[in-house]
């Protein structure tokens, strides 16, 4: 049997959500200056593209680093279902912090990392990176 080699597998998803950038501790004029159009009271929306990267050995029995069906179900349940077609400002995790894409990226990583032990096929792989594209010009990565 071949020696195990280590690869990095990236899976890409998308969800649509709205947000408004507004810090409750700052006065309105500072919020407007800090966030510009992103502070508009009605919010605005994005089609976010999410990449989840898993690093680990290739299982010589299955040829896989992680079972994609398991990973997809996990991301669907923990991330896409709660966030898709939602207002991020109404999410429990964003009552106390501004739903910038930076904060969203970190939050998605945290949720995935906390539930990672529940992905049976990924017991030898680790969550390496969450990458989030807010628009085709802005993207963010977090590696924990």
């Amino acid at each position: 049997m071949r020696a195990e080699e280590r690869v990095h597998l990236t899976r890409r998803y998308w969800f649509s959500a709205s947000h408004r950038l507004h810090h409750p501790a700052l006065p309105d004029d500072e919020n407007r200056e800090l966030y510009g159009k992103c502070n508009n009271p009605g919010g605005h929306g994005h089609n976010y593209f999410l990449e989840v990267t898993v690093a680990g050995p290739v299982d010589p029995r299955t040829g896989m680093t992680v079972n994609l069906a398991e990973l997809d179900a996990f991301v669907q349940n923990r991330i896409l279902e709660p966030l898709h077609e939602s207002s991020l400002n109404e999410q429990p995790n964003f009552r106390e912090q501004v739903p910038t894409t930076e904060n969203l990226c970190v939050e998605i990583y945290r949720v995935l990392a906390e539930g990672w032990a529940g992905i049976e096929s990924a017991h030898r792989a680790r969550l390496e990176r969450v990458r989030l594209e807010e628009t085709s010009s802005n993207f963010f990565e977090y590696r924990g």
């Binding site: 080699e5 690869v7 990095h8 990236t10 890409r12 290739v58 299955t62 040829g63 069906a69």
Partner: protein
């Protein structure tokens, strides 16, 4: 250090079957991908090499040479093939995207004596890709 990436596409079919697993386990693990008639992808391959810029030519590597090696060692071997049946290494190795990335590295690395291979990235679909940075040097990965 400069990193240069060349992209190429190839079309191939495959199916997933592990001889270590029972027929029921194969079906449960791989689902529709276990169909022995196979299914296909337009794979997108990115080969990244690294090096310093040659003062005379202004290039890290002569792209003509890189393209020739990619075509001869990888694309002509894999393009328009049923991987499990027509590419010898995949008679025994399951042609998952992970294993394909590993094998493409093994095909290319010995033939790229004129540059340093840094990464193989292989897209099975636009939403799924694998990166391989070569054999671990210290047992802890790249």
């Amino acid at each position: 250090m400069i990193y240069l990436t060349r992209r190429a596409e190839f079309s191939a079919s495959h199916y997933y079957h592990s001889p270590s697993l029972s027929p029921e386990e194969n079906q449960r693990l791989y689902g529709k991908c276990a169909n022995p008639h196979g299914h296909g992808h337009n794979y997108v391959l990115e080969v990244t090499v690294r090096g310093e810029i040659d003062a005379r030519s202004g290039m890290v590597v002569d792209l003509k040479d890189l393209k020739e090696v990619m075509a001869r060692e990888v694309l002509e071997v894999l393009d328009h093939r049923f991987l499990n049946r027509e590419v010898p290494v995949f008679h025994d190795v399951i042609p998952t995207t992970e294993n394909l990335a590993l094998e493409i590295w093994r095909m290319l690395a010995p033939k790229l004596e004129f540059c340093s291979l840094h990464r193989i990235r292989l897209y099975e679909t636009p939403d799924l890709y694998v990166d391989y940075f070569g054999p671990a040097k210290d047992g802890n990965g790249e």
